[in-house]
Symmetry: C2
Subunit: 342 residues, 2 copies
C-alpha cells in the first residue's frame, strides 16, 4: 500500500503565490471554495504579510490562522529542478512537504507546472510500480467522458509508461466519473495496429495484453468524438493537442469578427450569435474543470492552468476533494500492485 492515508476532515492547501493572477485570484478562489464546498478546510500558503495586506486592502474575509507563511516564490519562468532545490521555503516545496507529512490532504497550485510536477514527485514520492507520474486532462467531447493522459509530464516516453498512464487514467475515470471499465484508446495516426511511431507500436502490443478495456488505436479526430474515455499518448503530443484545443475559441472569435466586418447586416447577426455561442462554448472552458491531478505520486497534487481565475482555483479544490473522498491514491496503488503480482 501507499504510505498515503486519508486525513479527515479534508484539509486542502492552496498555493497563494501560483499563477499569473496570484495572489489575488488564489485568495478569492480560496474564499469561494470555503464558502461553496462542504466538509473541507481550506488553507493558503505563501508570503503571509503580503497576503494579509492584500486581504485587508481588498476588504476580503479569510481567516488569518489559515494562512501558512512561506518566504519564497518559485516564479513561472524559474527552471523547475533548480528552483525546487534552491527555494526550500517556497510555497510549492513547502506545500508538497505538508502533504507528505500528512498535515494536509491535498496541495493545489496554478504555479510553475514543471516545479509542481518535480516537487510532487520528489517530495511526496512515486507510488510503487510507477515509472513516471502522469498529468491528465479532461477534454470536452460529443459523447461521454474523455480524458487525455499524459498532457505534459513526460515528453519522452517508453512504451511501458503509456501502459501505466492507461492504468492510472482508467482508475481515475472509473472513480471520478463513475464509468465502469473505461474505454482506453491509444492515440495514433491510424486505427490499424500497424499504424504509429515506434513507441506507439510497442505500447499497442502491451495494452492488448493488459486487462484494461483497450479499444485499439484512435486518431486525432476521435478525441472530441468521445470514442475513448481514456486517451493515451506521450506528454509531448498530449500537451500540443491540449493547448491547440484551448486556442480553438481564439480562432472562432477571429472568424466571427472577420465575418462581421463584411457588412452591417452580418455584424448584427454575429452580435446576436455571440451570447449563444459563449454559452455553448462554456462546456469547453478549462475554468469549469479546474486543474488536473498528477497521478502516480503518493499524495494528492492538483496542477492548475497558469491563467487560473478564482473560479478555476475553486474548481481545483473541488477536484482535490474528489480525489480525497474517493481515495484515488490508494486505489491506484492497489491496482498497480495487483498488476505486479500477475
Amino acid at each position: 500500500m501507499s504510505s498515503y492515508h486519508n486525513p479527515d476532515p479534508c484539509k486542502i492547501l492552496i498555493d497563494a503565490m501560483g499563477g499569473d493572477n496570484a495572489p489575488l485570484a488564489c485568495i478569492n478562489g480560496a474564499i469561494q471554495a470555503q464558502q461553496s464546498i462542504e466538509n473541507v478546510d481550506v488553507f493558503l500558503i505563501g508570503k503571509k504579510q503580503v497576503l494579509l495586506d492584500l486581504i485587508s486592502k481588498q476588504k476580503l474575509s479569510f481567516d488569518s490562522n489559515k494562512i501558512i507563511d512561506a518566504s519564497e516564490v518559485i516564479e513561472m519562468d524559474d527552471k523547475p529542478a533548480q528552483a525546487i532545490k534552491s527555494k526550500k521555503d517556497s510555497s510549492i516545496v513547502r506545500g508538497c512537504e505538508l502533504v507528505k507529512s500528512k498535515e494536509f490532504s491535498a496541495f493545489v497550485s496554478a504555479g510553475n507546472t514543471g516545479a509542481m510536477m518535480a516537487a510532487s514527485t520528489l517530495i511526496m514520492g512515486r507510488l510503487k510500480g510507477v515509472s513516471r507520474p502522469t498529468m491528465g486532462s479532461f477534454m470536452p467531447s460529443a459523447g461521454g467522458i474523455t480524458t487525455v493522459f499524459d498532457v505534459g509530464a513526460n515528453v519522452d516516453c517508453k512504451p511501458r509508461f503509456l501502459v501505466e498512464f492507461a492504468m492510472m487514467g482508467s482508475i481515475f475515470v472509473k472513480e471520478i466519473y463513475k464509468i465502469d471499465n473505461p474505454k482506453v484508446g491509444l492515440l495514433s495516426v491510424g486505427e490499424e495496429d500497424t499504424k504509429g511511431n515506434e513507441v506507439v507500436l510497442e505500447a499497442h502490443k502491451l495494452l492488448k495484453m493488459s486487462k484494461l478495456n483497450f479499444i485499439g488505436n484512435i486518431e486525432g479526430r476521435d478525441i472530441l468524438k468521445g470514442t475513448a474515455n481514456v486517451v493515451v499518448c506521450d506528454g509531448f503530443v498530449g500537451n500540443v493537442v491540449l493547448k491547440f484545443g484551448e486556442s480553438l475559441k481564439v480562432l472562432l472569435k477571429h472568424l466571427l469578427i472577420e465575418y462581421a466586418s463584411q457588412s452591417i447586416f452580418k455584424k448584427i447577426k454575429v452580435g446576436l450569435l455571440k451570447s449563444t455561442l459563449n454559452k455553448v462554448l462554456k462546456s469547453i472552458d478549462y475554468q469549469e474543470y479546474g486543474g488536473v491531478p498528477l497521478l502516480g505520486v503518493d499524495g494528492i497534487s492538483i496542477i492548475g492552468h497558469g491563467s487560473s481565475t478564482p473560479k478555476a482555483i475553486k474548481n481545483m479544490v473541488v477536484r482535490a476533494k474528489e480525489m480525497h473522498d474517493k481515495d484515488i491514491v490508494n486505489k491506484i496503488q492497489k491496482a498497480l500492485s495487483e498488476i505486479e503480482i500477475e
Copy 2:
C-alpha cells in the same frame, strides 16, 4: 538540378479510383477542374470501362480520350508497401510513373495516403539532399498564413528531418503564398529553448544555425494564432493535430444540438445561428484547400483527403497547377543544393 522539368501545357492526371467517394467524385472533380481552371489539361486514370459506363449512366461529359486505363485499384485499407509492389497496374503506381516519364506535370489522388507517399517517393524519386519527403497542410489561423510540416509522412523523425521540412515548407510558403522569409516555428511544449522532447531539443539547435527565419519554439496554442508561417513537427504530432482540428466542427455541432434541446427558445436561437456559423466555418473546411503536396519528391504529387468531394478534387488540381506554374520542385532542389555546398 532535379530531373523534373516543367511540361507545357500543364497536364494533370487525377486518380479516378482514389477516395471514399470514387470514382464519381473524381469524375465530377475532373469535370469541374477542366471547366473552371485555365491553361490546364485534365486527365483521369482508372478502370476505363467502369468510368465510361458511369459517365454515360450519369449523363456526364468528359472526353474519353482523356481517360487512361489502369486495371487495378489500391484499396484504402491495402498495406502501402505491399500494394505498390503487387498492384503494378494500379492507378496510383501508373499515375506516379506517368509523372516520372514526363507525360504528365502532376498526379493527384485522394486514395490510400500511404501508398501515394510510397509510390511517389519510390517511383518519382527523392530530390538530392532530401532524407524524407514531407506532406504539409494548410491550417486556418487568426493571423496570416499557417502551414504545418509534417502531417503524416514521417512518424519517427531525426532532428535533421525536421530541418529539411522547415526548408521545404519555407520555399512552398514563399512561392505559393508570396510570403518573403516565412517565419518558421518549431512545435514544442514550451517557448523556451530547453523545452521539448529529445528530437525537438536537437532540432532547435540545428534550426538556430540555419539560414531560415527561425522564430524559436511555438506551442499548440500558437498554431491557430498564426504565430508562424511554417510550423515544424514530426508527422505523428502533425497528423494528430490536423485530424483533431478537423473534428472541431463535430464538437461544435454536438454542443449546439445539446444547447438547443434545453428549450424551444434556445432551439430557435440555434436555428438562427446555424447558417451564420456554417459560413464562418467555411474557411476552416479542408475542401477549400484541396490536397496537400508531398514535398521533396522529384515531381508533383498531391495527396487528398479520403473523403474528398468533387470540389476538393478540383482544388487539388488548382494546387497541382500552382506547384507546376511556380516550379516549386526545382526551387526546392536548388535551395537544398545551396545548403549542401555551405
